[in-house]
């Protein structure tokens, strides 16, 4: 058994995590009433503004005929494909690059810290201004991207939102830009929680560079990586702002995702039932993801 395996086999040292305190507050009589009273506000908000809307949404989408109308709308199947592409590519590229960059940001160079601060800027920026700016960067000949291409390289840039593929790619790039910093920060924290002894042991065994990443870092981060990817998948599935502001569905509503299509049915066509049905049609994917994520998060003790 190598030194690395020995260290790994002794289990992951839990760094500074508090254990359950041995003393228990015994609840009886008035204390129990107090405790209940303290939970009431949370329970009330949860019931009134989460459970009731969920139930109401399910009720709105109860008619099977709605789903027939969805399928009859040529926009719908295209939207489903867009959603799959947007989520599938967007999330995986984001997470993978974030994992690699988290290693980059742990290098010891004087410029790494200031760079990290600037790199986190997209995360701090509210979504509306950020995505509006993306839209105007790609608006066409006068957009920043195309004018830079023309001035510096003499290339005539494409009209991004006239082409479905390019518009979809723009949405994906904007989503990566906005969310990669957040996940990078999470992975930096994850990497910093790995005790240095493990790396020292790995170095003794000759694992450095790529091999250290593949055989030591990644296995230790795998759980966090999985939970984060599931979480990012669910959130991106429900992402409205990116597509709404970057491509706005252009060209000709061919880059809509389920979230934007549902809202459009509800507001532009005044058919909230159809909108609710469009979003409910994501449930067969959403429910398993939520169940797996909640199990995984509770079982492995990954803290959300």
């Amino acid at each position: 058994m190598s030194a690395t395996q020995q260290v790994l086999a002794t289990g992951r040292p839990v760094a500074g995590r508090g254990r359950r305190p041995p003393w228990r507050w015994r609840l009886h009589g008035s204390d129990f009433t107090w405790a209940l009273a303290f939970v009431v506000p949370y329970a009330a908000v949860f019931l009134a503004f989460a459970v009731y809307p969920i139930a109401y949404g399910l009720w709105m989408g109860r008619e099977p005929a709605l789903y027939g109308r969805l399928l009859a709308d040529p926009h719908y199947p295209r939207t489903v494909i867009n959603t799959l592409v947007y989520v599938g590519i967007g999330v995986n590229v984001t997470m993978f690059l974030a994992l690699l960059l988290s290693g980059f940001f742990l290098r010891r160079r004087w410029w790494i810290r200031p760079l990290l601060v600037i790199y986190l800027l997209p995360w701090a920026l509210p979504a509306v201004p950020a995505f509006l700016s993306f839209h105007w960067m790609l608006i066409g000949e006068q957009g920043l991207v195309d004018s830079v291409l023309r001035e510096l390289f003499g290339i005539d840039g494409p009209i991004w939102f006239n082409n479905r593929g390019l518009a979809l790619a723009s949405n994906i790039v904007a989503s990566i830009w906005k969310w990669m910093p957040f996940w990078t920060a999470i992975f930096i924290a994850g990497r910093m929680a790995i005790p240095p002894e493990i790396y020292e042991a790995a170095a003794v065994d000759g694992a450095t560079g790529t091999r250290r990443f593949v055989h030591v870092t990644f296995p230790l981060l795998a759980n966090v990586y999985l939970v984060c990817t599931l979480l990012a998948t669910i959130w991106t599935l429900g992402d409205f702002s990116t597509v709404n502001f970057v491509s706005g569905g252009a060209p000709a509503r061919s880059t809509d995702v389920l979230a934007t299509l549902g809202i459009r049915y509800a507001l532009d066509f005044a058919q909230p039932e159809l909108g609710a049905a469009a979003m409910l049609s994501a449930l067969p994917v959403l429910i398993p993801l939520v169940i797996v994520l909640m199990r995984k998060a509770q079982a492995t003790g990954v803290q959300l």
Binding site: R12, P21, R24, W25, L27, F32, L36, F38, V39, P41, Y42, A43, V45, F46, F49, A50, Y52, P53, Y56, G57, L101, I112, L115, I118, Y119, L120, P122, A124, L125, P126, V128, L132, S133, W136, M137, L144, E151, A185, I186, A189, G190, T208, N223, V224, G238, D239, I263, A266, P272, A276, M279, A282, L286, V290, M294, Q298, T300, G301, Q303, L304
Partner: protein
């Protein structure tokens, strides 16, 4: 460094230099990548006509602050109520912050310190709401808000933001509370203090850093959220800034420099808060961050 035991020192040095150069290159790429949209916003806002054409100059030759002045003086019919709308955004943000801190700290106290039975149910409920994509609930939420008599009301927005901010707040506070010693609670119990007194005099002061982190999180969430504010608010007076920016986007003949100036002014407060508290937030949120 011992990966290549037979490499000569010169070769090793060469490899190191190549590695440094590659890292510096990646650094430059990341810098441009992160700043390009921000730069674009400034470029448009500083242009007199709201053009964003890049003409070879990195800094616009004739920058003009007209657009910022227009926003400041409400000098366009799109901007008529802009200070009112900034006020609304702040109102929603602050109330969301206060209510989130209050509700989440009470719940975390009952579950984490008083060990109310069936606590798992509450944490599961919190986790479930946290995980759910909020946009999928928007359409029924609007109907539900109407049924509560909250049409075109800032309180409907506050309710929505609190609903989506409290779950994460509860989870973070439960994590944070585990690090505190229980001896103080015990001593106070023996002295006959009521749970309410313990909550107020012991729990809240001890939890201050966690509460600050959670409050900041709620404030930034409510300030930056868009979909619910857009769907729940209909009259111009009640709009928040996020919705006010959107009207420019919907029109074909809007002054884009005004829009970008407004967008920058809207983005500055959260960026300031974020960077001022970044160390502190990282420490407090790191406790409950997705992390092992």
């Amino acid at each position: 460094m011992t990966a290549l035991p037979f490499a000569s020192p010169a070769r090793r040095r060469l490899r190191r230099m190549a590695g440094d150069a590659a890292a510096a290159l990646l650094g430059v790429v990341l810098l441009i990548w992160s700043l390009a949209p921000v730069y674009n916003m400034l470029l448009i806002a500083l242009d007199q006509e709201g053009d964003n054409e890049f003409s070879g100059d990195i800094w616009p030759p004739e920058p003009s602050l007209d657009s910022f002045r227009a926003v400041w003086t409400q000098g366009h019919w799109y901007l008529e109520h802009i200070w009112n709308q900034f006020g609304n955004s702040l109102y929603v943000g602050l109330l969301t912050m206060v209510l989130t801190v209050l509700i989440a700290s009470l719940a975390s106290f009952a579950v984490g310190r008083m060990r109310l039975g069936k606590a798992r149910m509450l944490t599961s409920a919190a986790l479930f709401t946290y995980v759910l994509p909020s946009s999928f609930l928007a359409i029924p939420f609007v109907r539900v808000a109407y049924s509560y008599g909250l049409s075109d009301s800032l309180w409907a927005v506050i309710a929505a933001e609190v609903t989506f901010a409290t779950p994460f707040a509860v989870l973070i506070l439960l994590q944070y509370a585990r690090l505190l010693p229980t001896e103080l609670d015990e001593a106070a119990r023996i002295d006959g203090a009521s749970p309410a007194r313990i909550y107020w005099h012991i729990y809240l002061p001890l939890m201050a850093p966690g509460l600050a982190a959670v409050g900041t999180y709620a404030l930034l969430l409510a300030w930056g959220e868009y979909l619910y504010q857009y769907m729940l608010l209909s009259s111009t007076r009640n709009w928040t800034v996020a919705v006010a920016i959107e009207q420019f986007w919907d029109s074909d003949e809007a002054p884009w420099n005004y829009m970008m100036a407004l967008a920058i002014m809207y983005a500055l407060p959260p960026i300031a808060v974020f960077f001022a508290l970044r160390r502190y937030l990282a420490a407090a949120l790191g406790l409950g961050g997705v992390r092992r």
